[in-house]
């Protein structure tokens, strides 16, 4: 499916990618089964630098599986399925590449459950983002270089939680933790952000702040963002391109503006209004 800037572009306020055709992610015919259940069935997707993509679909449609496979947190099925990031393989033929750590340093991952280390301070959690680029023994001992320390505070300030830097992560609200997780990806200097249901555990106000942080990273810093969402209205509001999965297959890939109710009914079934958090469009 062609991805041309549709009429919906203007309302998203998304920055034009500087290199429209620079592919940063290439997913080719990827399948993944968990026992008898097939989570992904031959998914192919190309992602260009600077895109902000919403990955939607009903529960169990394979959204999380796809993101986890891109980051090499999970091996795909053997076969000709292949995932490449920045031109290098993440995994092929069911094997995660030996260089996956290198690639992961440039891919920030935001989890539904934040996945901060609860007993560590927010500062330490965000500093972990630099583990991939500082000397390994400094990383082990937690001797963060000055550059990291400054980057951490700048990132925390940017997402609005710098005041809590010294607090243990598990003493903060879900929204604050999720913004710290975004700060960790910033310190990581990630070029791609994969966000797996980043707002599913949050209330609408916190959710909007997190989505705005993600959009800000996309438009200000030109980061490529792929975000899985349960809420279709959020997908339409924040992302120009929407990819919908249904039972492990790509059911829609195109501009958010061209996603019609008929297609949503096809993807979610007749009760598709339920997937709008703040009300379905009339």
């Amino acid at each position: 499916m062609k991805r041309k800037a549709g009429p919906g572009l203007a309302r998203t306020g998304e920055a034009q990618p500087s290199m429209p055709d620079a592919a940063v992610l290439s997913i080719r015919n990827v399948s993944k089964s968990f026992g008898p259940r097939q989570a992904l069935a031959g998914v192919s997707l190309d992602v260009s630098k600077g895109e902000m993509i919403a990955l939607i679909g009903p529960s169990g449609s394979g959204k999380s599986t796809l993101l986890r496979s891109i980051s090499g947190l999970q091996a795909i099925d053997p076969g000709d399925g292949r995932i490449e990031a920045f031109g290098g393989p993440v995994q092929e033929n069911g094997r995660i590449s030996g260089k996956v750590r290198q690639i992961r340093t440039r891919i920030g991952f935001i989890f539904q459950q934040f996945n901060l280390v609860g007993r560590l301070s927010l500062f330490s959690n965000v500093a972990l983002g630099s583990l991939g680029r500082i000397s390994p023994w400094r990383g082990v001992l937690g001797l963060w270089p000055e550059e990291t320390r400054l980057a951490v505070m700048a990132a925390l300030a940017r997402v609005g939680v710098a005041d809590y830097a010294a607090q243990r992560a598990n003493t903060l609200s879900g929204g604050q933790q999720q913004r710290a997780a975004i700060a960790r990806a910033l310190v990581q200097k990630a070029k791609i952000i994969l966000a797996d249901e980043p707002v599913a555990s949050l209330d609408p106000v916190a959710a909007r702040k997190v989505m705005e942080s993600l959009r800000d990273l996309n438009s200000q810093d030109g980061l490529t963002v792929i975000v899985t969402l349960h809420q279709v209205d959020y997908a339409l509001r924040y992302c120009r391109r929407v990819v919908a999965l249904k039972a492990g297959r790509v059911a829609y890939d195109g501009p958010a503006s061209l996603l019609k109710n008929e297609q949503l009914i096809d993807i979610y079934g007749p009760e598709f209004e339920d997937v709008f958090w703040e009300g379905a469009p009339t």
Partner: protein, 270 residues
């Protein structure tokens, strides 16, 4: 029956366990009972009544114990302190042993080909009694506290390795994945993802073992590893019940104090 609504066909019956599902439970409990009955005679449980018929002997022994002789209390306290120091070093070395071995025994950290043999090795070490290890080290390094320290370190090290590995196996894997997703290496994942989650449990286990090692170190004194135990043994052999009583009181007070201290520290951790 006529009152049953027409829906009843759609409502499944309440769950019930079949005889086949209950059989394993019955078998296990039955076996426990049989074993207890078999063991009744060998342990002379039929002598239970003697507790009451021979009570005169016990009263005499008790009466002597009731008059403790504290003339040499400085010596007792000194020896008790040595015993506590044996326990401290034994536990400290045990923790040093248990951290790497505990991680090596954990399913979610180590590959099976390391984890399985390690687990076997720890089981083996754990099954050797302190006293046997103590005797072994007495032969190796001679009489004295160091043999006691080493015996405690090996035995407790193996016990703590098992407890540590169980704590590691019960962690939340989310934060570990969070660290992994930043491009961190395996050691980083353990230091930043695993250790912070298990640290309170590990500390608590180590403190608990320090408590019980203070008692074990006393027993180790019996075989010549120094400390209050050795004094206890000598006094017992001399049938000097007045001094024995004083020594036992010193032990009870010291061990109770250590228990209280360590419990207070553990409750702060959790």
């Amino acid at each position: 029956m006529s009152a049953a609504p027409a829906l009843s066909a759609d409502v499944p019956a309440p769950p019930s366990r079949s005889m086949a599902q209950r059989a394993p439970d019955l078998l296990v409990w039955g076996a426990v009972l049989v074993l207890l009955l078999v063991a009744f005679k060998p342990v002379e449980m039929d002598h239970f009544a003697k507790l009451f018929t021979n009570s005169e002997n016990m009263r005499q022994y008790g009466a002597e114990l009731l008059k403790p002789d504290f003339t040499d209390w400085r010596l007792y306290v000194d020896k008790m302190w040595l015993t506590v120091q044996i326990a401290m070093w034994g536990t400290f070395l045990a923790v040093i042993i248990a951290v790497p071995f505990g991680l090596a025994c954990a399913k979610n950290v180590s590959p099976a080909w390391i984890q399985q043999p390690m687990r076997l090795l720890m089981n083996l070490l754990r099954s050797i009694p302190d006293l046997v290890l103590g005797t072994l080290f007495l032969v190796a390094v001679g009489l004295g506290p160091f043999a006691g320290v080493m015996a405690l370190a090996i035995n407790t090290g193996a016990v703590l390795a098992k407890l540590f590995s169980e704590a590691v196996e019960s962690i939340d894997k989310g934060p570990v994945e969070g660290v992994r997703a930043t491009g961190a290496n395996r050691l980083h994942e353990i230091v930043w993802g695993v250790i912070p989650q298990v640290a309170p449990h590990w500390t608590s286990y180590a403190l608990y073992r320090f408590e019980s090692n203070s008692r074990s170190a006393t027993v180790l004194g019996l075989i010549g590893a120094g400390g209050i135990g050795q004094l206890l043994f000598e006094t017992m052999n001399a049938f000097d019940y007045h001094r024995l009583s004083a020594i036992v009181i010193v032990i009870i007070v010291a061990v109770t104090l250590i228990d209280l201290l360590s419990q207070a520290m553990r409750s702060r951790l959790m």
